[in-house]
Subunit: 321 residues, 2 copies
Protein backbone atom coordinates (compact mmCIF):
# COMPACT_ATOMS: atom_id res chain seq x y z
CA UNK A 1 0.00 0.00 0.00
CA UNK A 2 1.33 3.39 -0.93
CA UNK A 3 1.79 6.03 1.73
CA UNK A 4 -0.16 9.24 1.06
CA UNK A 5 2.14 12.16 0.30
CA UNK A 6 2.05 15.02 2.82
CA UNK A 7 -0.55 17.69 2.20
CA UNK A 8 0.82 20.85 0.58
CA UNK A 9 1.42 23.88 2.78
CA UNK A 10 1.41 27.64 2.17
CA UNK A 11 5.16 27.60 1.53
CA UNK A 12 4.52 25.17 -1.31
CA UNK A 13 2.12 27.68 -2.88
CA UNK A 14 4.74 30.43 -2.58
CA UNK A 15 7.37 28.12 -4.09
CA UNK A 16 4.96 27.30 -6.90
CA UNK A 17 4.41 30.99 -7.63
CA UNK A 18 8.16 31.49 -8.05
CA UNK A 19 8.56 28.29 -10.06
CA UNK A 20 5.85 29.01 -12.62
CA UNK A 21 6.55 32.75 -12.92
CA UNK A 22 8.80 32.38 -16.00
CA UNK A 23 6.12 30.38 -17.81
CA UNK A 24 2.62 31.33 -16.65
CA UNK A 25 0.74 34.53 -17.37
CA UNK A 26 -0.28 36.91 -14.60
CA UNK A 27 -3.88 37.08 -15.75
CA UNK A 28 -5.82 40.31 -15.33
CA UNK A 29 -8.39 41.00 -12.63
CA UNK A 30 -11.44 42.51 -14.33
CA UNK A 31 -14.51 44.36 -13.13
CA UNK A 32 -17.91 45.10 -14.67
CA UNK A 33 -20.15 47.71 -13.11
CA UNK A 34 -23.29 46.18 -14.63
CA UNK A 35 -22.56 42.85 -12.95
CA UNK A 36 -21.94 44.61 -9.62
CA UNK A 37 -25.34 46.22 -9.92
CA UNK A 38 -26.97 42.93 -10.81
CA UNK A 39 -25.31 41.03 -7.99
CA UNK A 40 -25.64 43.72 -5.33
CA UNK A 41 -21.99 43.33 -4.41
CA UNK A 42 -18.56 44.34 -5.73
CA UNK A 43 -17.09 41.68 -8.00
CA UNK A 44 -13.47 41.14 -9.07
CA UNK A 45 -12.90 38.48 -11.73
CA UNK A 46 -9.55 36.69 -12.02
CA UNK A 47 -9.55 35.84 -15.72
CA UNK A 48 -7.81 32.47 -15.84
CA UNK A 49 -9.53 31.83 -19.17
CA UNK A 50 -6.70 34.09 -20.39
CA UNK A 51 -4.06 31.79 -18.86
CA UNK A 52 -1.88 29.72 -21.22
CA UNK A 53 -4.00 26.85 -22.51
CA UNK A 54 -7.04 28.96 -21.53
CA UNK A 55 -7.39 27.48 -18.04
CA UNK A 56 -5.88 27.73 -14.55
CA UNK A 57 -4.79 24.08 -14.98
CA UNK A 58 -1.50 25.26 -16.46
CA UNK A 59 -0.46 26.54 -13.03
CA UNK A 60 -0.61 23.13 -11.34
CA UNK A 61 0.75 21.15 -14.27
CA UNK A 62 3.62 23.59 -14.78
CA UNK A 63 4.50 23.50 -11.08
CA UNK A 64 4.47 19.68 -11.05
CA UNK A 65 6.60 19.38 -14.19
CA UNK A 66 9.20 21.95 -13.14
CA UNK A 67 9.52 20.62 -9.58
CA UNK A 68 10.63 17.17 -10.81
CA UNK A 69 14.34 16.39 -10.33
CA UNK A 70 16.20 16.25 -13.66
CA UNK A 71 16.54 12.47 -13.64
CA UNK A 72 12.82 11.88 -13.05
CA UNK A 73 11.86 14.58 -15.50
CA UNK A 74 13.89 12.97 -18.29
CA UNK A 75 11.64 9.89 -18.09
CA UNK A 76 8.60 12.05 -18.71
CA UNK A 77 5.19 12.55 -17.16
CA UNK A 78 1.86 10.78 -17.52
CA UNK A 79 -1.73 11.59 -16.63
CA UNK A 80 -5.27 10.60 -17.51
CA UNK A 81 -7.35 13.55 -18.63
CA UNK A 82 -9.04 14.39 -21.88
CA UNK A 83 -9.67 17.93 -20.73
CA UNK A 84 -7.77 21.01 -19.64
CA UNK A 85 -5.29 19.18 -17.38
CA UNK A 86 -4.14 16.94 -20.23
CA UNK A 87 -3.51 19.97 -22.41
CA UNK A 88 -1.80 21.83 -19.58
CA UNK A 89 0.51 18.93 -18.78
CA UNK A 90 1.40 18.49 -22.45
CA UNK A 91 2.26 22.18 -22.75
CA UNK A 92 4.29 22.13 -19.52
CA UNK A 93 6.23 19.05 -20.65
CA UNK A 94 6.98 20.64 -23.99
CA UNK A 95 8.31 23.73 -22.21
CA UNK A 96 10.66 21.55 -20.16
CA UNK A 97 11.49 19.40 -23.19
CA UNK A 98 10.41 16.08 -21.68
CA UNK A 99 8.03 13.33 -22.87
CA UNK A 100 4.37 13.47 -21.94
CA UNK A 101 1.83 10.64 -22.05
CA UNK A 102 -1.87 11.33 -21.78
CA UNK A 103 -4.38 8.53 -21.28
CA UNK A 104 -7.64 9.49 -22.97
CA UNK A 105 -10.93 7.64 -22.70
CA UNK A 106 -13.10 6.66 -25.67
CA UNK A 107 -15.62 9.38 -26.48
CA UNK A 108 -13.33 12.28 -25.60
CA UNK A 109 -13.82 15.40 -27.73
CA UNK A 110 -11.66 15.25 -30.85
CA UNK A 111 -10.74 18.94 -30.75
CA UNK A 112 -9.36 18.62 -27.22
CA UNK A 113 -7.33 15.55 -28.17
CA UNK A 114 -5.99 17.42 -31.16
CA UNK A 115 -4.77 20.21 -28.91
CA UNK A 116 -3.03 17.76 -26.59
CA UNK A 117 -1.38 15.99 -29.51
CA UNK A 118 -0.34 19.32 -31.03
CA UNK A 119 1.82 19.91 -27.93
CA UNK A 120 3.74 16.76 -28.79
CA UNK A 121 2.17 14.47 -26.18
CA UNK A 122 1.62 10.76 -26.83
CA UNK A 123 -2.06 9.77 -26.57
CA UNK A 124 -3.03 6.39 -25.10
CA UNK A 125 -6.64 5.42 -25.72
CA UNK A 126 -8.68 3.30 -23.33
CA UNK A 127 -12.27 2.57 -22.33
CA UNK A 128 -14.24 5.35 -20.66
CA UNK A 129 -14.36 3.90 -17.14
CA UNK A 130 -12.19 5.24 -14.34
CA UNK A 131 -10.81 1.69 -13.82
CA UNK A 132 -9.70 1.46 -17.47
CA UNK A 133 -8.07 4.89 -17.25
CA UNK A 134 -6.14 4.05 -14.12
CA UNK A 135 -5.09 0.65 -15.50
CA UNK A 136 -3.82 2.23 -18.72
CA UNK A 137 -2.03 4.90 -16.72
CA UNK A 138 -0.32 2.22 -14.61
CA UNK A 139 0.68 0.35 -17.76
CA UNK A 140 2.24 3.48 -19.30
CA UNK A 141 4.03 4.18 -16.02
CA UNK A 142 5.39 0.62 -15.89
CA UNK A 143 6.61 0.80 -19.48
CA UNK A 144 8.17 4.27 -19.33
CA UNK A 145 8.86 5.00 -15.64
CA UNK A 146 7.19 8.36 -16.26
CA UNK A 147 6.02 10.34 -13.20
CA UNK A 148 2.27 10.42 -12.63
CA UNK A 149 0.86 13.96 -12.37
CA UNK A 150 -2.64 13.46 -11.06
CA UNK A 151 -5.11 16.13 -12.26
CA UNK A 152 -6.11 17.35 -8.79
CA UNK A 153 -4.76 15.10 -5.98
CA UNK A 154 -1.06 15.73 -6.71
CA UNK A 155 0.43 18.01 -3.98
CA UNK A 156 2.38 20.08 -6.52
CA UNK A 157 -0.75 20.47 -8.62
CA UNK A 158 -2.70 21.68 -5.59
CA UNK A 159 0.09 24.12 -4.68
CA UNK A 160 0.23 25.41 -8.25
CA UNK A 161 -3.52 26.01 -8.44
CA UNK A 162 -3.26 28.05 -5.22
CA UNK A 163 -1.19 30.69 -7.01
CA UNK A 164 -4.28 32.04 -8.83
CA UNK A 165 -5.75 33.26 -5.54
CA UNK A 166 -2.37 34.69 -4.46
CA UNK A 167 -2.44 36.88 -7.56
CA UNK A 168 -6.11 37.73 -7.10
CA UNK A 169 -5.50 38.98 -3.54
CA UNK A 170 -2.45 40.90 -4.70
CA UNK A 171 -4.52 42.74 -7.31
CA UNK A 172 -7.61 43.11 -5.09
CA UNK A 173 -6.37 43.11 -1.48
CA UNK A 174 -9.67 44.16 0.09
CA UNK A 175 -11.80 41.12 -0.75
CA UNK A 176 -14.21 39.67 1.82
CA UNK A 177 -14.83 36.37 0.08
CA UNK A 178 -13.47 34.32 -2.83
CA UNK A 179 -15.67 32.01 -4.91
CA UNK A 180 -14.19 29.19 -7.00
CA UNK A 181 -15.74 26.12 -8.67
CA UNK A 182 -15.11 22.69 -7.18
CA UNK A 183 -14.80 19.43 -9.12
CA UNK A 184 -11.82 17.27 -8.16
CA UNK A 185 -10.84 20.04 -5.79
CA UNK A 186 -7.37 21.02 -6.97
CA UNK A 187 -8.19 24.70 -7.28
CA UNK A 188 -10.51 24.65 -4.26
CA UNK A 189 -7.94 23.12 -1.91
CA UNK A 190 -5.08 25.21 -3.29
CA UNK A 191 -7.19 28.32 -2.78
CA UNK A 192 -7.98 27.26 0.81
CA UNK A 193 -4.28 26.91 1.58
CA UNK A 194 -3.44 30.22 -0.07
CA UNK A 195 -6.15 32.15 1.77
CA UNK A 196 -5.24 30.65 5.15
CA UNK A 197 -1.56 31.31 4.52
CA UNK A 198 -2.21 34.94 3.69
CA UNK A 199 -3.95 35.22 7.10
CA UNK A 200 -6.41 37.22 5.14
CA UNK A 201 -9.67 36.39 6.91
CA UNK A 202 -11.11 36.03 3.43
CA UNK A 203 -13.90 33.47 3.32
CA UNK A 204 -13.75 30.66 0.72
CA UNK A 205 -16.99 29.63 -0.99
CA UNK A 206 -17.10 26.76 -3.46
CA UNK A 207 -19.59 26.55 -6.32
CA UNK A 208 -20.61 22.99 -7.23
CA UNK A 209 -23.20 21.74 -9.75
CA UNK A 210 -26.39 20.62 -8.01
CA UNK A 211 -26.18 17.52 -10.22
CA UNK A 212 -22.67 16.63 -8.99
CA UNK A 213 -22.66 17.93 -5.43
CA UNK A 214 -20.43 15.29 -3.85
CA UNK A 215 -18.19 17.87 -2.14
CA UNK A 216 -21.19 19.43 -0.45
CA UNK A 217 -22.40 15.99 0.69
CA UNK A 218 -18.91 15.00 1.81
CA UNK A 219 -18.36 18.10 3.93
CA UNK A 220 -21.83 17.78 5.46
CA UNK A 221 -21.29 14.13 6.41
CA UNK A 222 -17.68 14.58 7.46
CA UNK A 223 -16.50 11.81 5.16
CA UNK A 224 -15.78 11.58 1.47
CA UNK A 225 -18.91 10.59 -0.41
CA UNK A 226 -18.19 8.50 -3.52
CA UNK A 227 -21.72 7.45 -4.45
CA UNK A 228 -22.69 10.52 -6.50
CA UNK A 229 -23.29 9.98 -10.23
CA UNK A 230 -22.58 13.33 -11.90
CA UNK A 231 -25.31 14.83 -14.07
CA UNK A 232 -24.34 18.34 -15.13
CA UNK A 233 -23.49 20.41 -18.17
CA UNK A 234 -20.30 21.51 -16.35
CA UNK A 235 -17.96 18.99 -17.96
CA UNK A 236 -14.99 20.13 -15.90
CA UNK A 237 -16.80 19.47 -12.60
CA UNK A 238 -18.05 15.92 -13.04
CA UNK A 239 -15.16 14.53 -11.01
CA UNK A 240 -15.57 13.43 -7.39
CA UNK A 241 -13.52 15.48 -4.96
CA UNK A 242 -10.12 13.91 -4.36
CA UNK A 243 -9.12 12.43 -1.03
CA UNK A 244 -6.38 14.94 -0.08
CA UNK A 245 -8.52 17.73 -1.53
CA UNK A 246 -11.39 16.74 0.73
CA UNK A 247 -9.15 16.68 3.81
CA UNK A 248 -7.83 20.17 3.04
CA UNK A 249 -11.31 21.59 2.40
CA UNK A 250 -12.60 20.00 5.60
CA UNK A 251 -9.72 21.42 7.64
CA UNK A 252 -10.30 24.90 6.23
CA UNK A 253 -14.09 24.78 6.75
CA UNK A 254 -14.85 25.64 3.11
CA UNK A 255 -18.50 26.40 2.36
CA UNK A 256 -20.22 24.92 -0.71
CA UNK A 257 -23.14 26.32 -2.70
CA UNK A 258 -24.96 23.97 -5.08
CA UNK A 259 -25.89 25.62 -8.39
CA UNK A 260 -28.45 24.59 -11.01
CA UNK A 261 -27.18 24.27 -14.59
CA UNK A 262 -29.81 26.73 -15.86
CA UNK A 263 -28.36 29.42 -13.57
CA UNK A 264 -24.87 28.57 -14.78
CA UNK A 265 -25.86 28.95 -18.44
CA UNK A 266 -27.47 32.32 -17.70
CA UNK A 267 -24.31 33.44 -15.89
CA UNK A 268 -22.15 32.30 -18.82
CA UNK A 269 -24.18 34.48 -21.17
CA UNK A 270 -23.98 37.44 -18.79
CA UNK A 271 -20.20 37.14 -18.63
CA UNK A 272 -20.04 37.27 -22.41
CA UNK A 273 -22.35 40.30 -22.57
CA UNK A 274 -21.01 42.32 -19.64
CA UNK A 275 -17.39 41.17 -19.31
CA UNK A 276 -16.87 40.25 -22.99
CA UNK A 277 -15.27 36.99 -21.90
CA UNK A 278 -16.10 33.53 -23.19
CA UNK A 279 -15.85 31.08 -20.29
CA UNK A 280 -16.78 27.44 -19.82
CA UNK A 281 -19.94 26.49 -17.89
CA UNK A 282 -17.55 25.08 -15.24
CA UNK A 283 -16.27 28.66 -14.78
CA UNK A 284 -19.54 30.56 -15.02
CA UNK A 285 -20.90 28.51 -12.12
CA UNK A 286 -19.02 30.74 -9.65
CA UNK A 287 -20.89 33.87 -10.77
CA UNK A 288 -24.11 31.83 -10.87
CA UNK A 289 -23.58 30.92 -7.21
CA UNK A 290 -23.31 34.61 -6.29
CA UNK A 291 -26.34 35.65 -8.34
CA UNK A 292 -28.46 32.82 -6.92
CA UNK A 293 -27.63 33.76 -3.31
CA UNK A 294 -27.92 37.55 -3.18
CA UNK A 295 -28.41 37.80 0.58
CA UNK A 296 -25.23 35.82 1.21
CA UNK A 297 -23.06 38.27 -0.75
CA UNK A 298 -24.95 41.58 -0.42
CA UNK A 299 -22.62 44.56 -0.15
CA UNK A 300 -19.50 42.39 0.09
CA UNK A 301 -16.32 42.47 -1.98
CA UNK A 302 -16.29 39.18 -3.86
CA UNK A 303 -13.43 37.67 -5.84
CA UNK A 304 -14.29 35.09 -8.50
CA UNK A 305 -11.85 32.85 -10.36
CA UNK A 306 -12.99 32.41 -13.97
CA UNK A 307 -11.24 29.09 -14.38
CA UNK A 308 -11.28 28.41 -18.11
CA UNK A 309 -12.60 29.27 -21.53
CA UNK A 310 -12.39 26.10 -23.58
CA UNK A 311 -15.83 26.01 -25.12
CA UNK A 312 -17.05 25.76 -28.70
CA UNK A 313 -18.26 29.21 -29.85
CA UNK A 314 -20.44 27.50 -32.45
CA UNK A 315 -22.42 25.64 -29.78
CA UNK A 316 -23.14 28.16 -27.07
CA UNK A 317 -25.63 26.54 -24.70
CA UNK A 318 -28.17 29.36 -24.79
CA UNK A 319 -28.40 29.35 -28.60
CA UNK A 320 -31.10 26.83 -29.47
CA UNK A 321 -29.95 24.30 -32.05
Amino acid sequence: MSVAPPLPQFDDVLDAAARIAPHARVTPVLRATALDTLAGCRLAFKAECLQRGHAFKFRGACNAVFSLPDGDAARGVVTHSSGNHGGALALSARLRGIPCHVVVPEGAVGAKLGRIAAQGAVLHRCAATIEAREAMCARVQAATDASLVHPYADPQVIAGQGTAVLELLHAAPDLDVVVVPVGGGGLASGSAIALAGLSSGVELVLAEPAGAADTLASLQRGERCTSVTPDTLCDGLRTLVGEPNFRILQAHRAQVLAVEDADTIAAMRRLLVELKLLVEPSSAIALAAVLANPARFAGRRVGIVLTGGNVDPDRLPWVSA
Copy 2:
Protein backbone atom coordinates in the same frame (compact mmCIF):
# COMPACT_ATOMS: atom_id res chain seq x y z
CA MET B 1 -18.32 80.85 -40.92
CA SER B 2 -16.89 79.11 -37.87
CA VAL B 3 -13.15 78.96 -37.38
CA ALA B 4 -11.80 75.42 -37.10
CA PRO B 5 -10.41 74.67 -33.62
CA PRO B 6 -6.66 74.01 -33.47
CA LEU B 7 -5.61 70.40 -33.99
CA PRO B 8 -4.79 68.56 -30.77
CA GLN B 9 -1.15 68.07 -29.85
CA PHE B 10 0.76 65.45 -27.86
CA ASP B 11 0.45 67.54 -24.70
CA ASP B 12 -3.32 67.33 -25.09
CA VAL B 13 -3.08 63.54 -25.10
CA LEU B 14 -0.97 63.61 -21.93
CA ASP B 15 -3.45 66.01 -20.32
CA ALA B 16 -6.27 63.70 -21.33
CA ALA B 17 -4.54 60.72 -19.74
CA ALA B 18 -4.34 62.57 -16.42
CA ARG B 19 -7.90 63.89 -16.73
CA ILE B 20 -9.57 60.54 -17.38
CA ALA B 21 -7.41 58.52 -14.97
CA PRO B 22 -9.90 58.75 -12.06
CA HIS B 23 -12.70 57.45 -14.28
CA ALA B 24 -11.38 55.19 -17.06
CA ARG B 25 -10.02 51.68 -16.72
CA VAL B 26 -6.43 50.86 -17.60
CA THR B 27 -7.43 47.95 -19.81
CA PRO B 28 -5.17 44.90 -20.00
CA VAL B 29 -2.78 44.10 -22.85
CA LEU B 30 -3.31 40.45 -23.77
CA ARG B 31 -1.39 37.92 -25.81
CA ALA B 32 -2.29 34.60 -27.42
CA THR B 33 0.44 32.28 -28.62
CA ALA B 34 -1.86 30.54 -31.09
CA LEU B 35 -2.62 33.85 -32.81
CA ASP B 36 1.09 34.69 -32.95
CA THR B 37 1.70 31.38 -34.71
CA LEU B 38 -1.16 31.99 -37.10
CA ALA B 39 -0.10 35.54 -37.91
CA GLY B 40 3.63 34.89 -38.07
CA CYS B 41 4.30 37.87 -35.83
CA ARG B 42 4.11 38.80 -32.15
CA LEU B 43 0.75 40.35 -31.26
CA ALA B 44 -0.22 42.46 -28.24
CA PHE B 45 -3.92 43.24 -27.88
CA LYS B 46 -5.09 46.33 -26.00
CA ALA B 47 -8.49 45.14 -24.79
CA GLU B 48 -10.62 48.28 -24.96
CA CYS B 49 -13.69 46.05 -25.12
CA LEU B 50 -13.05 45.87 -21.36
CA GLN B 51 -13.18 49.68 -21.05
CA ARG B 52 -16.17 51.25 -19.31
CA GLY B 53 -19.10 51.09 -21.71
CA HIS B 54 -17.17 48.32 -23.50
CA ALA B 55 -15.46 50.63 -25.98
CA PHE B 56 -12.51 53.04 -26.21
CA LYS B 57 -15.09 55.79 -26.87
CA PHE B 58 -15.30 56.46 -23.13
CA ARG B 59 -11.78 57.91 -23.23
CA GLY B 60 -12.63 60.71 -25.65
CA ALA B 61 -16.07 61.44 -24.24
CA CYS B 62 -14.78 61.52 -20.68
CA ASN B 63 -11.93 63.84 -21.63
CA ALA B 64 -14.32 66.19 -23.44
CA VAL B 65 -16.83 66.27 -20.58
CA PHE B 66 -14.25 66.81 -17.83
CA SER B 67 -12.34 69.47 -19.74
CA LEU B 68 -15.40 71.75 -19.96
CA PRO B 69 -15.32 74.81 -17.66
CA ASP B 70 -17.89 74.51 -14.85
CA GLY B 71 -20.23 77.09 -16.35
CA ASP B 72 -20.35 75.38 -19.74
CA ALA B 73 -20.58 71.94 -18.18
CA ALA B 74 -23.64 72.94 -16.15
CA ARG B 75 -25.58 73.51 -19.39
CA GLY B 76 -24.83 69.98 -20.48
CA VAL B 77 -23.51 68.25 -23.57
CA VAL B 78 -25.09 67.07 -26.79
CA THR B 79 -24.08 64.72 -29.57
CA HIS B 80 -25.57 62.67 -32.38
CA SER B 81 -24.70 59.00 -32.14
CA SER B 82 -26.76 55.90 -31.66
CA GLY B 83 -23.66 53.85 -31.01
CA ASN B 84 -20.78 53.66 -28.59
CA HIS B 85 -20.05 57.39 -28.49
CA GLY B 86 -23.61 58.19 -27.40
CA GLY B 87 -23.35 55.71 -24.55
CA ALA B 88 -19.89 56.93 -23.59
CA LEU B 89 -20.99 60.57 -23.52
CA ALA B 90 -24.06 59.70 -21.44
CA LEU B 91 -21.90 57.83 -18.93
CA SER B 92 -19.34 60.64 -18.77
CA ALA B 93 -22.04 63.26 -18.24
CA ARG B 94 -23.58 61.19 -15.46
CA LEU B 95 -20.18 60.94 -13.77
CA ARG B 96 -19.85 64.72 -13.85
CA GLY B 97 -23.51 65.17 -12.91
CA ILE B 98 -24.49 67.25 -15.94
CA PRO B 99 -27.28 66.91 -18.53
CA CYS B 100 -26.65 64.93 -21.70
CA HIS B 101 -28.67 65.03 -24.93
CA VAL B 102 -28.22 62.38 -27.59
CA VAL B 103 -29.74 62.76 -31.04
CA VAL B 104 -30.60 59.31 -32.39
CA PRO B 105 -31.73 58.48 -35.92
CA GLU B 106 -34.74 56.33 -36.77
CA GLY B 107 -33.77 52.69 -37.10
CA ALA B 108 -31.13 52.74 -34.36
CA VAL B 109 -30.84 49.51 -32.36
CA GLY B 110 -33.24 49.52 -29.42
CA ALA B 111 -30.80 47.88 -27.03
CA LYS B 112 -28.20 50.58 -27.64
CA LEU B 113 -30.77 53.34 -27.09
CA GLY B 114 -31.83 51.62 -23.89
CA ARG B 115 -28.26 51.74 -22.62
CA ILE B 116 -27.94 55.43 -23.42
CA ALA B 117 -31.24 56.22 -21.71
CA ALA B 118 -30.24 54.09 -18.70
CA GLN B 119 -27.36 56.54 -18.09
CA GLY B 120 -29.91 59.31 -17.71
CA ALA B 121 -29.43 60.95 -21.10
CA VAL B 122 -32.30 62.59 -22.98
CA LEU B 123 -32.92 60.99 -26.37
CA HIS B 124 -33.97 63.17 -29.34
CA ARG B 125 -35.24 61.19 -32.31
CA CYS B 126 -34.84 62.32 -35.92
CA ALA B 127 -34.70 60.95 -39.47
CA ALA B 128 -31.74 58.75 -40.40
CA THR B 129 -29.95 61.23 -42.71
CA ILE B 130 -26.84 63.08 -41.59
CA GLU B 131 -28.63 66.38 -42.41
CA ALA B 132 -31.52 65.52 -40.09
CA ARG B 133 -29.12 64.52 -37.33
CA GLU B 134 -27.12 67.74 -37.59
CA ALA B 135 -30.27 69.85 -37.76
CA MET B 136 -31.70 68.19 -34.65
CA CYS B 137 -28.38 68.60 -32.90
CA ALA B 138 -28.36 72.33 -33.74
CA ARG B 139 -31.93 72.65 -32.47
CA VAL B 140 -31.05 71.00 -29.13
CA GLN B 141 -27.98 73.22 -28.85
CA ALA B 142 -30.04 76.34 -29.50
CA ALA B 143 -32.64 75.33 -26.92
CA THR B 144 -30.25 74.24 -24.16
CA ASP B 145 -26.92 75.95 -24.90
CA ALA B 146 -25.37 72.51 -24.35
CA SER B 147 -21.82 71.97 -25.65
CA LEU B 148 -21.52 69.81 -28.75
CA VAL B 149 -19.15 66.86 -28.32
CA HIS B 150 -18.65 65.57 -31.83
CA PRO B 151 -18.02 61.79 -31.98
CA TYR B 152 -14.63 62.04 -33.69
CA ALA B 153 -13.80 65.56 -34.90
CA ASP B 154 -13.76 67.19 -31.44
CA PRO B 155 -10.14 67.96 -30.42
CA GLN B 156 -10.68 66.73 -26.85
CA VAL B 157 -12.23 63.54 -28.16
CA ILE B 158 -9.22 62.97 -30.43
CA ALA B 159 -6.83 63.62 -27.55
CA GLY B 160 -8.76 61.26 -25.28
CA GLN B 161 -8.73 58.45 -27.81
CA GLY B 162 -4.95 58.83 -28.09
CA THR B 163 -4.56 57.67 -24.48
CA ALA B 164 -5.27 54.03 -25.44
CA VAL B 165 -2.05 53.88 -27.45
CA LEU B 166 -0.13 55.61 -24.64
CA GLU B 167 -1.14 52.77 -22.34
CA LEU B 168 -0.45 50.14 -24.98
CA LEU B 169 3.11 51.41 -25.48
CA HIS B 170 3.61 51.60 -21.73
CA ALA B 171 2.64 47.92 -21.34
CA ALA B 172 4.42 46.77 -24.52
CA PRO B 173 7.28 49.21 -25.11
CA ASP B 174 8.98 47.22 -27.87
CA LEU B 175 6.29 47.38 -30.55
CA ASP B 176 7.23 47.95 -34.20
CA VAL B 177 3.77 48.79 -35.47
CA VAL B 178 0.30 49.60 -34.11
CA VAL B 179 -2.89 48.67 -35.97
CA VAL B 180 -6.19 50.40 -35.23
CA PRO B 181 -9.51 50.54 -37.12
CA VAL B 182 -10.50 53.75 -38.87
CA GLY B 183 -14.04 55.10 -39.30
CA GLY B 184 -14.49 58.76 -38.41
CA GLY B 185 -10.85 58.75 -37.40
CA GLY B 186 -10.96 59.78 -33.74
CA LEU B 187 -8.92 56.82 -32.54
CA ALA B 188 -6.75 56.80 -35.66
CA SER B 189 -5.77 60.47 -35.41
CA GLY B 190 -5.35 60.33 -31.63
CA SER B 191 -3.10 57.30 -32.04
CA ALA B 192 -1.05 59.12 -34.70
CA ILE B 193 -0.47 62.05 -32.34
CA ALA B 194 0.40 59.74 -29.43
CA LEU B 195 2.89 57.68 -31.44
CA ALA B 196 4.61 60.74 -32.89
CA GLY B 197 4.74 62.37 -29.47
CA LEU B 198 6.35 59.31 -27.91
CA SER B 199 9.07 59.62 -30.61
CA SER B 200 8.66 55.91 -30.75
CA GLY B 201 9.36 55.19 -34.39
CA VAL B 202 6.34 52.91 -34.20
CA GLU B 203 4.49 52.69 -37.50
CA LEU B 204 0.73 53.33 -37.56
CA VAL B 205 -1.43 51.13 -39.79
CA LEU B 206 -5.16 51.70 -40.13
CA ALA B 207 -7.64 48.94 -40.92
CA GLU B 208 -10.64 50.08 -42.96
CA PRO B 209 -13.53 48.06 -44.44
CA ALA B 210 -13.08 47.54 -48.19
CA GLY B 211 -16.73 48.58 -48.50
CA ALA B 212 -16.14 51.91 -46.72
CA ALA B 213 -12.57 52.78 -47.68
CA ASP B 214 -12.89 56.55 -47.84
CA THR B 215 -9.82 57.15 -45.66
CA LEU B 216 -7.69 55.07 -48.01
CA ALA B 217 -9.07 56.98 -51.01
CA SER B 218 -8.62 60.32 -49.25
CA LEU B 219 -4.99 59.71 -48.33
CA GLN B 220 -4.21 58.43 -51.83
CA ARG B 221 -5.79 61.48 -53.50
CA GLY B 222 -4.48 63.95 -50.95
CA GLU B 223 -7.93 65.36 -50.31
CA ARG B 224 -10.89 64.24 -48.26
CA CYS B 225 -13.14 62.02 -50.34
CA THR B 226 -16.83 62.34 -49.41
CA SER B 227 -18.39 60.31 -52.22
CA VAL B 228 -18.10 56.85 -50.64
CA THR B 229 -21.35 55.08 -49.75
CA PRO B 230 -20.47 52.67 -46.93
CA ASP B 231 -21.35 49.01 -47.43
CA THR B 232 -19.91 46.96 -44.58
CA LEU B 233 -20.89 44.80 -41.63
CA CYS B 234 -18.63 46.96 -39.45
CA ASP B 235 -21.33 49.27 -38.10
CA GLY B 236 -18.83 51.39 -36.18
CA LEU B 237 -16.81 52.18 -39.31
CA ARG B 238 -19.46 53.40 -41.73
CA THR B 239 -18.62 57.03 -41.03
CA LEU B 240 -16.55 59.14 -43.42
CA VAL B 241 -13.25 60.28 -41.96
CA GLY B 242 -13.58 63.68 -40.29
CA GLU B 243 -11.89 66.78 -41.65
CA PRO B 244 -9.44 67.38 -38.78
CA ASN B 245 -8.89 63.63 -38.52
CA PHE B 246 -7.94 63.48 -42.18
CA ARG B 247 -5.48 66.36 -41.81
CA ILE B 248 -3.79 64.67 -38.83
CA LEU B 249 -3.57 61.29 -40.59
CA GLN B 250 -2.17 62.94 -43.71
CA ALA B 251 0.46 64.82 -41.71
CA HIS B 252 1.54 61.62 -39.94
CA ARG B 253 1.64 59.55 -43.14
CA ALA B 254 -0.67 56.86 -41.77
CA GLN B 255 -0.97 53.73 -43.90
CA VAL B 256 -4.36 52.16 -44.60
CA LEU B 257 -5.19 48.51 -45.34
CA ALA B 258 -8.62 47.72 -46.81
CA VAL B 259 -10.18 44.57 -45.33
CA GLU B 260 -12.99 42.38 -46.66
CA ASP B 261 -15.88 41.73 -44.26
CA ALA B 262 -15.46 37.95 -44.61
CA ASP B 263 -11.92 38.25 -43.24
CA THR B 264 -13.19 40.43 -40.40
CA ILE B 265 -15.83 37.86 -39.40
CA ALA B 266 -13.22 35.10 -39.41
CA ALA B 267 -10.94 37.23 -37.22
CA MET B 268 -13.80 37.96 -34.82
CA ARG B 269 -14.36 34.23 -34.35
CA ARG B 270 -10.65 33.61 -33.88
CA LEU B 271 -10.49 36.27 -31.16
CA LEU B 272 -13.33 34.52 -29.33
CA VAL B 273 -11.65 31.11 -29.65
CA GLU B 274 -8.06 32.07 -28.94
CA LEU B 275 -8.33 35.21 -26.81
CA LYS B 276 -11.73 34.41 -25.24
CA LEU B 277 -12.85 37.96 -26.00
CA LEU B 278 -16.07 38.98 -27.68
CA VAL B 279 -15.37 42.01 -29.88
CA GLU B 280 -17.36 43.91 -32.49
CA PRO B 281 -16.63 43.41 -36.19
CA SER B 282 -15.36 47.01 -36.15
CA SER B 283 -12.66 45.79 -33.71
CA ALA B 284 -11.83 42.44 -35.25
CA ILE B 285 -10.95 44.21 -38.50
CA ALA B 286 -7.53 45.15 -37.10
CA LEU B 287 -6.53 41.51 -36.60
CA ALA B 288 -8.06 40.69 -39.98
CA ALA B 289 -5.78 43.30 -41.59
CA VAL B 290 -2.74 41.60 -40.07
CA LEU B 291 -3.82 38.08 -41.05
CA ALA B 292 -4.63 39.16 -44.62
CA ASN B 293 -1.21 40.77 -45.09
CA PRO B 294 1.28 38.29 -43.62
CA ALA B 295 4.32 39.55 -45.52
CA ARG B 296 3.72 43.09 -44.26
CA PHE B 297 3.87 42.03 -40.60
CA ALA B 298 6.12 38.93 -40.66
CA GLY B 299 8.32 38.68 -37.58
CA ARG B 300 7.31 42.10 -36.28
CA ARG B 301 5.94 43.11 -32.88
CA VAL B 302 2.42 44.31 -33.58
CA GLY B 303 0.08 46.14 -31.21
CA ILE B 304 -3.64 45.97 -31.92
CA VAL B 305 -6.36 48.04 -30.27
CA LEU B 306 -9.50 45.92 -29.79
CA THR B 307 -11.82 48.88 -29.81
CA GLY B 308 -15.11 47.55 -28.52
CA GLY B 309 -17.30 44.61 -27.67
CA ASN B 310 -20.87 45.77 -28.10
CA VAL B 311 -22.31 42.93 -30.13
CA ASP B 312 -25.29 40.65 -29.64
CA PRO B 313 -24.09 37.21 -28.47
CA ASP B 314 -27.29 35.68 -29.82
CA ARG B 315 -26.50 36.84 -33.38
CA LEU B 316 -22.85 36.07 -33.93
CA PRO B 317 -22.19 36.61 -37.64
CA TRP B 318 -20.60 33.20 -38.25
CA VAL B 319 -23.56 31.31 -36.79
CA SER B 320 -25.95 30.77 -39.70
CA ALA B 321 -29.48 31.85 -38.87
